[in-house]
Each structure stands twice: as structure tokens, then as C-alpha cells.
Symmetry: C2
Subunit: 793 residues, 2 copies
Amino acid sequence: MSKKLNVIGTPIPKIDAGIRITGKAVYGQDVKLPGMLHGAILRAEYPCAEFTIDVSAARKLPGVIAVITADDIDCNNISYKKDHPILKKGEVNCIRDEIAAVAAESKEIAERAIKLIKVKYKEKKGIYDPFDALKPNAPLVNKYLKDSKFAKNISDIFFYEHGNLEEQKKKSAVIISKRFVLPRVTHCCMATSNITADYSSVTKRLTLYSSTQVPFLYQRDMAHALKMNASDIRVIQVVIGGGFGSKLDMYPFEPIAAILSIKTGKPVQIIFDREEEFIASPTRQNMVIDLIAGADKNGKFTFRDVTIVKDNGAFTSWGATTPFVMMQTFSSLYQMPACRFESKAVYTNNISAGSFRGYGNPQAAFAIESCIDLMADKLGMDKAEIRLLNANYAGEITGQGMHYDTCGHIEALKTVIEKSDLRNTNKETLRNTNKYESTNKEKETVNTDSYIRKNPYFVDNVDRYKRGVGIASMMHVGGGAKIYRSDGCGTTLKLDDYGHLTLITGSSEIGQGSETVLAMMASEELTIPMNKIKVINTDTDVKPWDVGVHASRTSFVAGNSVLGAVKKLKEKLNQKAAVLLKCTIENLIYENEEIKNSDGSNSVRIEKVVREMHFGGQNELCTVNHFYEPTSDFQDKQFKGNVSGTYAFAAQSAEVEVDTYTGNIKVLNIHVAQDVGKVLNPLNIMGQIEGGVLTGVGYGISEELIMENGRVLNPNFHNYKMLTASDVPDIHFYPIETNDSLGPYGAKGMAEAPLIPTAAAIANAVADAIGVRIYSLPITPEKVLKAIKEKTD
Amino acid sequence: MSKKLNVIGTPIPKIDAGIRITGKAVYGQDVKLPGMLHGAILRAEYPCAEFTIDVSAARKLPGVIAVITADDIDCNNISYKKDHPILKKGEVNCIRDEIAAVAAESKEIAERAIKLIKVKYKEKKGIYDPFDALKPNAPLVNKYLKDSKFAKNISDIFFYEHGNLEEQKKKSAVIISKRFVLPRVTHCCMATSNITADYSSVTKRLTLYSSTQVPFLYQRDMAHALKMNASDIRVIQVVIGGGFGSKLDMYPFEPIAAILSIKTGKPVQIIFDREEEFIASPTRQNMVIDLIAGADKNGKFTFRDVTIVKDNGAFTSWGATTPFVMMQTFSSLYQMPACRFESKAVYTNNISAGSFRGYGNPQAAFAIESCIDLMADKLGMDKAEIRLLNANYAGEITGQGMHYDTCGHIEALKTVIEKSDLRNTNKETLRNTNKYESTNKEKETVNTDSYIRKNPYFVDNVDRYKRGVGIASMMHVGGGAKIYRSDGCGTTLKLDDYGHLTLITGSSEIGQGSETVLAMMASEELTIPMNKIKVINTDTDVKPWDVGVHASRTSFVAGNSVLGAVKKLKEKLNQKAAVLLKCTIENLIYENEEIKNSDGSNSVRIEKVVREMHFGGQNELCTVNHFYEPTSDFQDKQFKGNVSGTYAFAAQSAEVEVDTYTGNIKVLNIHVAQDVGKVLNPLNIMGQIEGGVLTGVGYGISEELIMENGRVLNPNFHNYKMLTASDVPDIHFYPIETNDSLGPYGAKGMAEAPLIPTAAAIANAVADAIGVRIYSLPITPEKVLKAIKEKTD
């Protein structure tokens, strides 16, 4: 019997909503320190070139306090592979490359100084296609990668297998072999990249006002870069205007600001403008996935054989480790007897990717779910049926060793199948409105449209508007991911004499609403109202360790840490309460900020208990610490093991209408059924679902950071096509509560999931609508028209 | 056998010295918040008057955002006795009275608006002498004091007695009865009073950037004033530019700033200018002490009978409780068979006193030590001998119930007696230089000096320069003072993966160097170097509770709290270290950031132990909390009990040279022998000694805030005579280490002590020099000349 919950599960607005909407939130852009200087960075003019640099004119500009080049610094390389110099010396390898930086009294002076720096380039032929980089005669792109065990221009290889692939191939009645091409997209955080570095020559300590989502790893990475001790770096997280994984890595501009502060003895702030943000902030991994997948005659999946080539760009980021996550999806989304997975991250002279919400899984889902539809078609099976037949189930231990103790996959699939009426879709009734229906009248109008007439892909013999439904699933870690030696989170609780609680959590708020959910948990357990709970979570000097925001882990890991701390706090309170209530310590009841004896006949206010402890002779404070470490495993060298405390599952169906005249796709409805374990805060969860789905829709149909010969062609919101309000489909969310035994209140991580299957579902819906499949994202109007043309040709 | 200390006892500069001297310290004056408004306060023009007020013109001034009077606010009265309205309505009772306040876009506009406020006064006859206020027909000064059990115009009465006064009187061979008059002096903090209040209409929380020295009491007091919940008030302490007790009370300007912030929704800053600081910040209690004291024929003290009338001013402050401390000195400094003590705090229309370093004891010492010299003279005893005969001793339990477990009184006396060669003083050899000696040549010069000739007090038949030596003692709480229900302090220690320590202490740094000493203790115990220890101590949301800076308690109470926390931390570390070192948990040795087994043959770095705990399966953080409460007693209603964890003793001798032509006193040497228990940091302790002594010298010979008919006559440094560099005597410090069993490393509180006996010793030295005694402080040239004149007349 589960106890009645009063706070958990109720729609509570984010506790930081108020400061955000009233403009009181201090974003990185709002940080102003006394005597602060402004930094600017000079980047490469060519994506592959040798260069010489002369900064003398910049140094002479009044108001310029420092100009640095690679010659002026003594730093370690940064990045996951330590293959990335902070400032580049003599040669540039991508258009983003930092070659000099300025600190000046104003941003304007800094920018003027940048323009005064004279650089002579000798352009070289770059490599912009990873397959070219793998050719034997290709030049070496990154010379900084040390002790690589891989072939030239390969940054990293992930290899995984389980089961007997050959045997499973023999069992297969159908084998699909397809190549999928995934684009570069970028996070488009509303707050551009920013840092304010404040080095004290007195204390020799560096304070960073940073947007990092992993402050303790960032502290360590920064220390390595600057050859400092990590503890001499204090990271104060500003209010973060969008993270989505982009703040998992540290980027050169951050140590550059620190170096400028160290050199000048003043605070230095660097803020990207939007164009710089598009060029010099990370992207999702663009890649080519070759997937061979089989099923037997009954539709049971037999194997997956995956080969991935990822464009690593000129330097490596955490994004290079996305195969770690992708392989889990290839090996373990749907029951999978055998899997072989190989991915190569290949250096090119392109800009490099970083980590991005979903961490490879949107790419994997697109390949897997497209193949499933193709198999169903070949086997003549229902697309819902084949998925249900192969769906993951509670109690399953996958080939990779992941334990699905709870699993809402089947229920998620059933829900979206039913809600989107997938099996009996009357494609004309997907939407109640007739607005987009193809009528004769409209056709007449179209006939007068000269643009359509000129369109070479225009096909006259079909109805203009075609509707389709597609479905896709996803599996993602739901209880952290032990990729670092600790995946835990610390909590300190301080209950004061007035019954108000300070909750100091190691975890970070990056807009996902974690601080609200953590406060709700404390509120639920202690019956202290939300407005009496303060969350402290931005200062590494103060907060206990946490690995950071990634892997949808915060509610699960930090939540369990809060619950552990609350348990200790209650043990403290109960001892005193039992004395005050003259009862045994067992079965004390917390209600309305009171502690009651087991039959409720006697009660004492919590604050009174605190005061009695503090002032009543015992003289103790109600402060406790707790550290929670998930019970997950560090996977072995073969990547096997139960990497997460629990796993999240979801299915989505997309209903689309394709304009066959223009190739435009209108996403009408997205039905989301997701195993969230338990809904902790419906408002918050809906925010995550909506945000995720929209990112997924953009990934599916419109967003792409287009590069040509190493240059970004669309570094602005005019040409980089984010969704706007008019593009937003109706989003229907059906939470599935599997009440995970390890999750706080049964909850699982849920934040990355909503975007993972969306593009895949849309791709399937488009294929359903137009009868032809597109194998690369985004599914642009051009691709749609081309596909229709090729089909009809 | 005590262990060898490596950090404690060594001269380590204050850890905040660097930011202070490089201008990086953020004083209240340096706080700048976005959108911040500037506040100004209109005060009374008359010390006693009725008034009507019209703020309409001020409200209309462009840039003025809010103007408030008593009519615009709904607040509780403030002060220890809750007798002080934040804004006064209809009548003013002292020249400091706040009657309106403005918040405006700039300080200039705020001040212009203040000038536009029209006030019509009807002046009334005020009471400026507390003895007048006690007359039956005196008008009532303060009508706000509720439920007083005292007669009209009495704010508070402290009455104490022990022993049989009548019996002791009979035993007395000598009885001295004298009146001592003590002046108003003020703290003269280099940073004037300041506050920045930032109320959020979104969170309904108030953040105060404050210089308070008692943040948790301040939070409570502010909450009471504003009718808020204390926990909704976050106190962030700025770097404090001088406290000395002045920041123990909350003053009207502080809630005024908060109210202006609440009304405007913007941060509001109020900063006093120097004149305002002189008029509207607190003073030391001016008072009249009538002391009757006796000794038997052998010089053994028999009794003290003390009656004090304190000028309370128009409102009551914590300063009204100084008799609580003074009575301890009257009852228990020197062995004392009987004591009767009564003090009345009496309302007048003067400005009110606050608390000030020493808390009544400089006043008490002056009276007591003057009387001792008088007794010695009457008995024909040596002034050193009579003191040694009566000195306190270790093991003594005083009439008031205080336990002197350790006591350096005798040793302190002996030290200054010896060092100043009190018994055999060759008054001509007090200083090596002859510069100030009265020679015939000089006399001739003097004869031509028209100023001296005109001086009515000039006496021709004595040598111009007279030297004297005086001695005085003090006793003060040295282990906190349980005047609040808890006198404890909390500590949280967070040891990170790199072996650096965050020390979160409830205690406050107000310049006394406490954070340095606390870090030294942690450094000593853990062998972690000072530069790897960060002290967090400024934010009530973050730091654990502490009663605040008063009663010289921080090193003792917060220090013991740190040591308790360190013990817990070591217990945690030892468990893991024993496993790593494959040895038993007993007798582990900490050395050079390592933990070693008992024979030192095997060792592991502390940071490695932390990382093994964090990452090595156990998954725990090294974070601990501790709360230390001194074992002292809450005194009973008769003020009896062991109020402090330990007691500090000191003796000082002053060597002076009096210019009998001008009356000027030159203090040549101050010898300070003080029972500090243990010297924790010689640099820090010397800073406290020097600062204290100089405050004491100023109190003795130059400082007085002069009031006439309720007005301050010298509100500036030109007329308020602080010591300057040329007035500084040679200060000789002889620490006495009694190694108190309860003190951290044996240390006692020592911060207030150095100023307590100084003025008393100087007064005795002056009497010794000129052969006539002055019974009021400061001993100005006028008083000296007058005394010489009266003596010779």
C-alpha cells in the first residue's frame, strides 16, 4: 500500500519561474563585477590553413588590457580526448579555431582590437567528409591526440556485440540493410555562451560565473587546462538560459576568459553573439548509420548489425561518447537476440559536435524504427503488431546486461497505437478541422500558382495533401548512467528554528525544474510547504559533489539523495519528538508541519522540535548530509553491465500531413506515451515533454546547421530553421507509471526521452503518407518532393 | 603531554588581508545591485518636540520612487525592549529620531527630496540628565515601553548581591566612597553604517546585505519588525569595516531600507555619511558609578557597593544590558566577600547607547581600580601588593558562581608589575629618551611662551613634565556568555576529492580574524595547508546557526565547534584509511596531508582516502556537521551561575608623562599581560591587543562625543578626538598561557580584554604623576590643569 501523496504528483510551478519572468534572474549576461573587462576571440578565417599572426596593433589600442595568442599561454589541451589546444598555434583546422583573444575595457574596444590583429593565412585543402578522412592517403587532421590505438584520423571506436549474428541471420526471413544520414543540428540556447572569470592574485583562486551543467567535472577540466588545483577554482552557476547537453563540455572560450583574468588581474567576461553561437557552440553528432536488421517469418527480430561513421570535426568532445548510449539502444531497444555495433568518430576539418539531449538516441531511433517499418512492409505485418511482438518487458535482462526491472514499453506502444488509432487510421479524420484538406476548389487555386507550376518535382496526378501516421519507440537510461567513477549526488539539509528548510543539493538546475522537484520531495516527506524550502545549488564551494546534469539523472539520483537526507533528518527529529510527545519513536506521523504520535492524539510542530533540540539542553542543530550513489554498475570492457538504476521507455506516434505540391510537412499531432515511473510534477513533466517533442520535430523536418567546405552557411535564425509557434503540433501526453522500486516515489528519469523517438515517428508518418521513405534528416520539402518524383518516375 | 603544534601558535596573516589591502573586499558601500535605489532618512531637528509633516513636495520630485513616514508603515517597534518605533509619529524624543525616508534613483535626488519635506515642530523642554529624569515630576520620555515593572523613565534595573555587606563593612579598616563619571564615546568604524535591502515580490523573500555581527539574531529582529517570518529573510554579511559591538543591535535605518525595498520592489541602499554616523550610530554607555569599596587592615578587600545610573537615551539598546557584565566585574574581579550592585538605565532625550567592545567593563575597571589605589594610599600599602593580595586564582568559585578553572590574574599582575618596574619606578627613566625631560633650558624656553603664560591653570612651582605609572586589571568572559538560550555555533566541513576543505561556520568575521583562526585549527588537525581551506561564513541560508559575535566568544565557541567537526571528519577518514593502510583504526597519524599507521611505516594521502570513499564502491562524501554548545549555565534570576565556558584575566600598566603646563598626557608605554589561555595566532592576537589598547587610550584621555541639550556638538573627526599615529604608545604584550581545559588548544576569548583596563591604568598613572586623581573620563588637559590647580590652591 502506498501512502497518499500530497505534494508529489501535483502541478507546482517551478520555484524559479518568478525570477525568470520578472527579469530578476541573473543569467551570465547579467553578471557585472567591479572593474570587469570584456573579452573577444579571433577565430580562423579558413577551415584549414597555416598562419602567422601579429597582434602588435591590437595591443596598442587604448583600452586594450591584454592580447593573447598561443605563444602567451602555458596550458594543457582540453576535451574528452585532450586533443584540443585552447589557442591554436601556426595552423587552424576548423573555422571555429581560436587563434587570439583580447581583454579590453569595453566590448566595443575588444571587438575593434580583434579587427586590428593581422593574420596571414596559407590555405590548405581540408577534409570535410569523414569517409575521405579514412582514406589511406588522407592528411592527418588532428595532431594532438596522444597514444591513440586507432588508425589515422580516428578519434574513437566503440565496438560491441552480443549473441550469434550469423545464426540469427540464418533465422531471418527478412533482412533490411539501409544507410541513414543524420544532420548537424545545434542547441539554439536562448542565452548565448557566456563566462565571467574572476581570478584573485591575492588568494590565487579563480571564480567562474559559468553556465556549465556539470560544475564539478568542469572545475576539474578547467584545472587541468590551466594547470591549477581544481579546488582553487570556484564555479558559481548563473541562471542557465538553455543547456540541453551543450554545457557538458568545456570550450576554449572558458579557459581563455580565465587566462585573460589571470593576466589582467581583473574579472573578464566573454559573451557570444548569435552568429558566434551558431559557429562556435557544439552540435548534435552528424553521422552515417549503416544498419542491417533482420526478423524471422513471424516478425520476431533476429539481429542488428550497425556500422556508424561519425563526423568528429577537428577536435573531440563528449559527443564522441554518444555511441556508448546508442549501442544500448541498438542492443536493447526491443528484444534483440544478437547485435554487433561499431562506430568510428572520424576527424575532419568541420566544426566539432558536442553532447545534445538524447545523446545519440534520436539518431539510433531513426535508423531502428525506419527499418522496423520496412520489415513490417516486407513481412506484410501490421506496424503496431510487429512492435508489440518485439517490445521490451519487465524482468527482461538484455543481451548487454541491462535489467529492465520495470518496463512500460508495451503499455507505451499500446497507448499511442490506440490514441492515434494507428491500425484504423482514417487519414481524412486525423484532425477535426478540414482546413488542410485537399479540395477541388483548392486545386483550382493551386493551378493558378505559378510557383507550383515551375516546381520540377510537382506531380499532378496525386491529391495535394497526404496524411500519414508513424510510430517509434525509445529506451534510455532512467536512473543515471555510471560512466564516471561515481554517479552519485550529495545533499545537505538544514532545518532552521522557524521550521524552514535549506536544501543544499549537489545537482544543478539548468531549466529542467530539478530544484522544484527536489523541494517537492522534501516538502512531501516533511510536510513543510514549498515556500518554506530554499534550494541552494549553484556554488561548488558550498554544495556537495554531484556528477552533473546528464543522462536524465537528476530527479532519480538527486531525488534519492534528498530522500536519504530526509530520512536522516527525520531520525533526528523523531528522537526529540518522541520525548516531547511522550511516545515511542515508531510510527510517528508527519502532517501539516507537525509530528504526531501514532494515533494522532498528540502533536508538536516541527519547528518546536527543532527549537527544543537547539535550545532545550540537548543543543543540537537539525543539519544532515547524505550521499546517494545508484546501485548501477560500471560496465565492463565489453560494455556489458547494468549501467543505470532503471530504464525509461516511450513510444510516440506522429500524425503528419504532407503538402505534395510544396513538400512541406505539417505535423498535426504527436502522441507521447512514456514510462516515467511516476509523475512527480505534471506541470514540469509537461514542460519537458513539450520541449523535447518540439526539438524532435525540428530535428525531423526543419533544423540543420549546413556546412560546406568547412564553413557554416546558415549561422542565424533566418536560415537555421527552428520551429515557430505556428509549427507546433498538438502534443498529447500519456504518462505511464510503472513505479520503479529504486526511483524516488517510483519515478524514472524522463527529460531526454521525449525528443528521442519524435523524428523517427515523423519519418515513418511521412513514408506512410507519401508511400516513399526518406533516409536522411531533416525531411525537408526538397527531399519530400524529390522522393515523390523518384517514386513516380 | 601536549602534542607539537605546527599551525596553531604561528604568525599567519589573516586570510582576508589580501582582498582588503588590494581593494577587492566588498564592503557594504561596494554593493551594487541592478536597478538599485538609494535611500535617505530625515531626522529630527529638535531633541524633544511635537511635529507635523508634509512630504508631498518630496514625492513629486522626479526620480523619487517612494517617500515614507510613520503613517505609511505597519511595523513593530524594535530594540531589546521593543520601545523604539522605526519611524516616529507626531513627536520626536532625540535628535537622531527618524521621521521620514526616501528612496530615489540616486543619492543626490534622495537627499534633495529629504530637503523638500516640510516639518513643523513645536519644541518641548527635554530631559538631558538622567538624574532629572528620575525626579517625580519629570515628563515621560519613552511612552512605548510596555509592561514595565520599573518606575517612570527607567528602562531597566539590574540588581545583584552576594555576601553580607554589613558584616564586611564592619571588618573594613578603610572604606572608599567615590563617584565616577564615564563619557559617551563612539565606535568610529571606518565604514559608516550601511544596508542594502532587496525584497523580491516574487518569492516574498527579503535579502539583506548587512554589516550585522549577529546575523541570526538580526534575521529574527528584522522579521519581528517587519512582521515577516524570520526564515524569509536572508542575511548576507558584507565585509565589515569595523564592528566593535556597534553591529549587535539593529537600528531603524535597516528596517527602513527593507520597507523601501518592499514598497518599491527594487533594491534600496542606505549609507550614512560621517556626520550621520556620529549622530545616529550607537555609543558606549555613559554613566555615573557610585562605588563604595572596603578593605580590612591587611588590605584584603571586604565589599563593594555599587550604584549606577546610566543615561539610556530616548530608546533602549542591547547597551542597556551592560550591567549584566559589569556586575560580574564588581562581584568577581579580585576576591570579593560581598557585593551589592544596582544599576538603572534611565530614559533621557539624549541619543541612545549601544553595545561596545568591553560591554561596561572599561567603566567598571575605572571605578574599581581607582578605588584600589585610593585604598592602598590610605592603608599605606604598595599598589602592586594590594592587588596581588586580592587577585583571583585558579580554582576560585566567585560569589556570583563563576568557576575560575584556570586563572592568570596573579601572573598577569606580576608580569606588568615587573615589566613596568612599578615598585621601584625611577620616574625619570621610564623612557630612554630625554626628549620630554624638563630641563632648565626648556624652562627658559617656556618662559617666553605666551600661551603658557596666559594659561590660568599654569603652576610655576613644579617641574613641567611629571611621570607616573598606573596599574589595572580586568576579568571578562572568555568562553562565550550564555545570555541567549543557546550560545553555540554550528560547523559544516566538506572535504573534497582534491583534499581541499570547505569550512562552513555559523560564526561571523568582523575583522577580528576569526575565520583565519578557525581555518588554522582545521589545518592543524588535518595537516591540510591554509591555502587549501576555504571559509564560508556570510550567508544565513547556507551557514549553520551561531549566536553571533559578542562576548569575545568566537575563537572559543566556533573554534570548539570546528574541532568537534574535525573529530567527526577524522572518524570518517580513519575508517577508510585503516582499510587502505591495512591497520587498526587506533593511533592513526595525520602528517603533511597524509594519514599514517601508528609506526609511520605506511601512509596514504588524505585526498586519496576521500576519493576512495567517494569512488571506491563505498560512495560516500566527506561532509560532516557539528554543533558546539559551551557547558556554561544560563544564570538564575539572581544572576548567579557559571555564565561562561571560561574566564579571561588581564593586567595592564600604563606609563604616562603629564605636561603640567598644558595638561596634555603623553602615554609612553602600555604593558599588557593577558591570560589568553593559549596564543592561537600571535599576529592576530597582537592586532587585537594593539587595537584594544588604542581604543582604551582614547577612552582614557581624548575621546568623548559631547552632547549639550540633546545635540551632538562634535560630530566629526576634527572635534571628536581619536588617537592619531603620533599618540600611539609603545605597547608591550606578554601573553599568559593557562591552557584552559575547555578552550580550543587551551585558548580563551581575548578580543575585548585589551581595552578594558587601559583607561583605568592611565587614570592611576596620571594620579601617580600629578598627585591628584581625576574621577571622570576622558582625562582631558582641562581636567588635568584644573586638578593640579585645585590641589595646589
